[in-house]
Symmetry: C2
Subunit: 269 residues, 2 copies
């Protein structure tokens, strides 16, 4: 089973920590963030790392595509272009493989899901967030997450989610909500997902002891944030959707909608 | 007693909340943040609000200069220029008043202190932070603060402060540390300040009850962050320095160093 997950967001939003919390594997190795002075004209690079992991007895070849440099410069004009190029390159490659002789063993390197990390600090989406999602929503499944949600009170999370969803609607952005046309029997799940998105996540690779239990969390002078506590954040719900209930659907939707979109455009040229 | 405090940092860093927590007065009124879509080409505006307040029996005419739009656009090139222009305008005005007939009643609108809000999310200073401070450190007293410090554990705060101070030193940036040449007797205070800067602050205008006491704080499912608790953040230390111990020194340093700098350059033209 192959799956490619792309991770996009400015540096420091806890992306590597979250990926490691989700898959319990360190995908980003020992990254060294360049000094701020060097990042002034930095461009976006695309780094793909593939690891074979096992999830509930299922062997999974997971590729995580990181996008260091995204949103970090003083001038972020067009910083989404390398991401668009990467997705198109993978579609191009798949199209060639599909039309080739050895069709039975095609490797699927297409991006099946893009986790877009939203900065929890602002008053909603930034211009860059809107621009990115508009440029990519017809190219790849986008799941927006509110990063480092432990800096928001429950009231603030609720208000921010509403604001973000309104801005997404107003800008005609289509994000992945796990909804498909033939979803009669899935209605309860879909409805629940639509109410949670964007997922307010907290990640941690630190093990702490709380009430005699070992939990992943963040220790503050005023309390412990438990990553897997549903009252503390949506980490468990994101993990469930991504790995347990919707992994196949994310691949199907990529194949049936985004890739088809690409094929049509390509063949009409 | 007049004092002008400028507040700089991207929107959402808790600037208005912190100013209100410091002076218990709402300087920013009911601001409406423009929708993200409108902020793409937004420029920086400079808004000054003056309020007469009383601090420990001392009447203070406090002007807070806000800089909405700073760092919020997709392209933030030169977004510090309006701030530089504003500071120079005030120096220009003072120079003219000083050379005029009515010298006894000069109003001092010069910026005595610039609180620069650093985003706690990143891995240190951003290119924009460095550029801003380099452009303004010879023009105005800069006091850097780490905004929304309740999203960092004590260990992370310590590491971030060290990283920021290293980056400030490496870039030859001069920030205000309350240190003057004739500081023999102040050594203990100065030393303490130098170890705390940048102040890791948390602000709140919500009153909560903790152990029977009413405190300003933020209520999370995992605990309460108390703004005035020294174990929780440096809010009290910043307030003490700004309002109690160093307000006069900030004005003196502006007059004796920054303004003199300006005067020399102006007279040599
Ligand atoms: N407050 C908070 N901090 C986090 C969270 N996840 C990670 N961090 C911290 O944020 C810093 C940067 O995390 P990292 O995963 O390297 O961010 P990345 O640059 O987006 O990959 C580290 O100090 C982490 O401990 C979170 O959910 N909440
Ligand atoms: N986590 C955290 N949130 C804060 C803090 N101060 C303010 N906020 C919240 O951040 C949001 C934006 O605050 P605001 O003062 O309007 O930010 P400004 O745009 O920089 O003026 C509000 O929801 C505040 O309640 C803080 O110290 N920590």
């Amino acid at each position: 089973f192959e799956f490619t997950l792309m991770v996009v967001g400015e540096s420091g939003l806890g992306k590597s920590t979250l990926i490691q919390s989700l898959f319990l594997t360190n995908f980003f190795g020992n990254k060294t963030s360049p000094a701020a002075g060097e990042r002034i004209d930095q461009t976006v690079s695309i780094d793909a790392t593939t690891v074979d992991i096992e999830e509930k007895g299922v062997k999974l070849r997971l590729t995580v595509v990181d996008t260091p440099g995204f949103g970090d410069a003083v001038n972020n004009q067009q910083c989404w272009q390398p991401v668009i190029d990467y997705c198109n390159e993978k579609y191009d490659q798949y199209l060639r493989d599909e039309s080739g002789l050895n069709r039975r063993n095609i490797e699927d390197h297409r991006v099946h899901c893009c986790l877009y990390f939203i900065n929890p600090l602002g008053h909603g989406l930034k211009p860059l967030d809107i621009e990115f999602m508009k440029q990519l929503h017809n190219l790849v499944n986008i799941i927006p997450v509110i990063a480092k949600a432990d800096m928001l009170t429950p009231k603030e999370i609720k208000a921010l989610k509403m604001k973000i969803m309104n801005e997404i609607q107003e800008n005609g952005i289509k994000i992945y909500t796990g909804e498909t046309d033939d979803d009669e029997e899935d209605n309860a799940d879909i409805k629940e997902l639509k109410e949670i998105i964007p997922f307010a996540v907290v990640g941690s690779n630190t093990l702490l002891e709380v009430n005699g239990k070992r939990v992943r969390g963040r220790l503050y002078p005023w309390g412990v944030v438990e990553v897997e506590n549903k009252d503390h954040c949506d980490f468990v719900k994101l993990r469930t959707m991504l790995i347990r209930t919707h992994m196949q659907d994310l691949k199907d939707y990529t194949q049936d909608v985004h890739y088809e979109n690409f094929r049509k455009k390509k063949l009409m040229q």
